[in-house]
C-alpha cells in the first residue's frame, strides 16, 4: 500500500550556514529497512527540488533507525542572507512528511497516525 512518510517516520531540521540537515527517524525498528531502501539521497533531493540547490548526502544510523540527510545550498544563501521568512529552515523537515512510500501490508500495525 502507498503511504505518506508522516505515518512511518518523524523528522527534524537544523541549520549550519547555507546547509540544512534533515534527520528522518522511523517510528518503529520494523519500518526502518523499508525506509532506508526507498528514501535515497536522490529521491530526497528530487522531493526538495527548487529549494535545495546543492548536493544531498545521506548518513544512515542503523542502530537508531535514522537517516540523516545533509542538504547543501538549501537556505537561500545562509541564515542571515536568506529572503525566506523561515530563514533557519525549521519548517523544511515538514516537506519530507509528504514523501510517498510503498509499505507492505504486514507493516501496517507499526504505522503512526492512521
Amino acid at each position: 500500500m502507498k503511504t505518506l512518510l508522516q505515518h512511518v517516520a518523524h523528522a527534524r531540521s537544523g541549520d549550519k550556514g547555507n546547509t540544512s540537515n534533515i534527520c528522518v527517524m522511523a517510528y518503529a525498528p520494523e519500518l526502518y529497512p523499508m525506509l532506508k531502501e526507498q528514501l535515497t539521497a536522490e529521491r530526497f533531493k528530487a522531493h526538495y527540488a527548487g529549494v535545495v540547490k546543492g548536493k544531498v548526502d545521506r548518513y544512515p544510523v542503523d542502530g537508531l533507525h535514522a537517516l540523516n540527510f545533509v542538504a547543501h545550498e538549501a537556505l537561500g544563501g545562509g541564515v542571515s542572507r536568506s529572503l525566506c521568512l523561515d530563514y533557519y529552515g525549521k519548517a523544511l523537515a515538514a516537506r519530507i512528511l509528504s514523501f510517498e512510500l510503498e509499505v507492505p501490508e504486514a507493516l501496517k500495525p507499526h504505522l503512526r497516525g492512521l
Partner: protein
C-alpha cells in the same frame, strides 16, 4: 569523585525562557547549571551594537534576568554555573555577576571570566581559506565585523580547578559548556577522546534545552506532548564513564523519550560518525538509547575520536540590508488580487530602479515558507498575505521595498489590507563565514573576580 554528576540546562539561546532555568535551579539538586546563549551571528551583532552604542556592556542582554532568577537557589545548594553569556565582554559580565552576588549578601564567591575567543584583529594572519567558498579570508577584509574562535572546555576546567563557582565566557562551543564539569569532576584528560566523546555527545543533547524535553517536537496526532505550555529544560545524570540519563523536573509538561532524544541527537549534525567539536570528534552512530523510566532515557555508548589540530573560526561581515514588508487579502478572489499586487510591485521596482541582489515576493499561506516546493494545485486560500523582501547593498535601496508597499495603500488593488508602518522595515545583514585556525595559536585567558 562523585558517582553521579547532575548537570542542568539554563538556556539554549539568547532569547530562551528564563522560568525553566529558575525551576532547574530551585529543584535544588543540580551540581551544575549551564547556559548557552551564542548563535552564529550573536557576537557580530554585539560588535555592531557596541560600535553604535558605547554604553552597551557587550554581554547577554538578559544576564541580569537570568542571574537574578537562579543565583539564590544556586548559592543555597552550591550549584556551580557555567555560561557563555560573556559575548564580547566576559570580564564585564563576571563583574556584573559579582554585583548580583553582593546584592544577595554572598561574599567570597569566585567568578571566572574566560576570554581569548575574539581574534578580530588577527584573523587574517591566522587563517587562510573560507570553508564555504574556498576563497582566501583576505577577501573579507573590507566588511569584517568580528572573528571568534570556538573555544573548548579546557579553559573552563582550568577556572574550576582554580576554585571558580561561576564561569562566564565568550564564544565557547555549545556542548563544551555542558561537558566542562564532567572533565573537571571525573578527572578526564583533554586527550581522553573516549570519555570526551561521550561527554560532548551528552552536552549536545543538553545544549538546545527544551528541544530534548518535548520542545520543537509536538505534531498533533503523530507526536503528542503533554502540557506543551509548561516545558522544562533538561537535566543529565552523568556517570564517571560519560554515560547519562536525560530527564527533567517532575511535574512539568513535555516529554523525554527515545524520539525526543533522537531528534536532538542529530539536530545540526552532518556526519553522525564525525561531529567535530573543539574538544573531540563525537561518533553518535554507536549510541544506545533506552527508556528506563517515565521521562528518563539512558544514553550510553557514544564514542569519540581524537580532536582535530584546528579550531573553527566564525567570521562576521556586513553584507548590506534586507528591506521587507507585507500586506493582506481575504475573501473571494484573495489570491487573484494578491497576484495582481505582485505584478504591480515588480513593475514599480523597475520604475524606481531598485538595485537588489535578490527580490522575493511570496504569498503567505500559499508558498512563503516552502517556496518552489509548494504544490501548484492547492485549494484557493481564504486569506493571503503578500510578503515582499529584497537584499540590497545599501539601506537606501532596501528602504524602497517598504516605500513601494506604502504605495499599495491608495494606488494598489481593491480591498488591500495594510498596516501603517510603525517599525523599521529594513535590517542589516551580518553574513557569517567560517575558517580554521591552528589550535596552538589560540591562548584562552582566565581572570578571577570575587564577591
Amino acid at each position: 569523585m562523585k558517582n553521579t554528576l547532575r548537570i542542568g540546562a539554563g538556556s539554549a539561546w539568547w532569547g530562551d525562557r528564563v522560568e525553566p532555568a529558575a525551576l532547574n535551579a530551585a529543584r535544588n539538586d543540580l551540581d551544575y547549571l549551564s547556559f548557552e546563549t551564542i548563535a552564529e551571528a550573536t557576537v557580530s551583532a554585539a560588535q555592531v551594537r557596541k560600535r553604535r552604542d558605547p554604553a552597551f556592556p557587550g554581554y547577554d542582554t538578559y544576564l541580569d534576568d537570568r542571574m537574578q532568577a537562579v543565583l539564590p537557589a544556586c548559592l543555597e545548594r552550591g550549584t556551580k554555573i557555567i555560561t557563555n553569556q560573556g559575548w564580547i565582554n566576559p570580564e564585564g559580565a563576571a563583574q556584573r555577576i559579582v554585583h548580583w552576588l553582593r546584592q544577595l549578601g554572598a561574599r567570597g564567591v569566585k567568578v571566572a571570566a574566560v576570554s581569548g575567543s575574539l581574534i578580530t584583529e588577527r584573523v587574517l594572519e591566522l587563517t587562510d581559506t573560507i570553508l564555504e567558498n574556498g576563497k582566501p579570508t583576505s577577501t573579507l577584509t573590507e566588511n569584517l565585523v568580528s572573528a571568534e574562535v570556538y573555544l573548548g572546555a579546557e579553559p573552563i576546567v582550568d577556572a574550576l580547578k582554580q576554585g571558580a563557582s561561576i564561569v562566564i565566557s565568550g564564544r565557547v562551543a555549545d556542548p563544551s559548556i555542558f561537558m566542562a564539569p564532567m572533565m573537571y569532576e571525573f578527572g578526564w584528560d583533554a586527550l581522553d577522546h573516549q570519555h570526551l566523546g561521550r561527554g560532548n555527545g551528552i552536552g549536545h543533547l543538553l545544549e538546545c534545552g527544551a528541544q530534548v524535553t518535548g520542545g520543537y517536537f509536538a505534531d498533533p496526532g503523530f507526536k503528542d506532548v503533554p502540557e506543551p505550555w509548561n516545558l522544562a529544560f533538561p537535566i543529565a545524570e552523568v556517570d564517571p564513564d560519560g554515560n547519562a540519563v536525560i530527564t527533567k523536573v517532575a511535574g512539568t509538561g513535555g516529554a523525554v523519550n527515545l524520539q525526543t532524544v533522537k531528534e536532538q541527537m542529530f539536530y545540526e549534525v552532518h556526519d553522525p560518525a564525525s561531529y567535530i567539536t573543539p574538544d573531540v570528534v563525537v561518533d553518535f552512530t554507536t549510541a544506545k538509547l533506552e527508556q528506563v523510566g517515565a521521562n528518563r532515557v539512558q544514553v550510553s555508548g557514544i564514542s569519540g575520536k581524537p580532536r582535530t589540530p584546528t579550531l573553527k573560526v566564525s567570521i562576521g561581515c556586513m553584507e548590506g540590508f534586507i528591506g521587507e514588508d507585507m500586506f493582506f487579502y481575504a475573501g473571494a478572489g484573495a489570491l487573484r488580487r494578491a497576484q495582481l499586487a505582485k505584478r504591480i510591485l515588480e513593475e514599480r521596482f523597475k520604475i524606481v530602479k531598485l538595485q537588489a541582489e535578490e527580490v522575493r515576493i511570496d504569498f503567505l499561506g500559499v508558498n512563503a515558507i516552502h517556496g518552489a516546493m509548494s504544490p501548484a494545485d492547492q485549494a484557493e486560500p481564504y486569506e493571503v498575505a503578500v510578503r515582499v523582501a529584497a537584499r540590497c547593498r545599501t539601506r537606501e535601496e532596501a528602504i524602497k521595498v517598504g516605500r513601494e508597499v506604502d504605495g499599495m495603500a491608495v494606488s494598489g488593488v481593491a480591498m488591500t489590507g495594510k498596516r501603517v508602518p510603525h517599525q523599521d522595515r529594513t535590517r542589516e545583514i551580518i553574513g557569517v563565514w567560517s575558517s580554521l585556525v591552528a589550535r596552538e595559536k589560540i591562548e584562552p585567558k582566565v581572570s578571577f573576580y570575587e564577591s
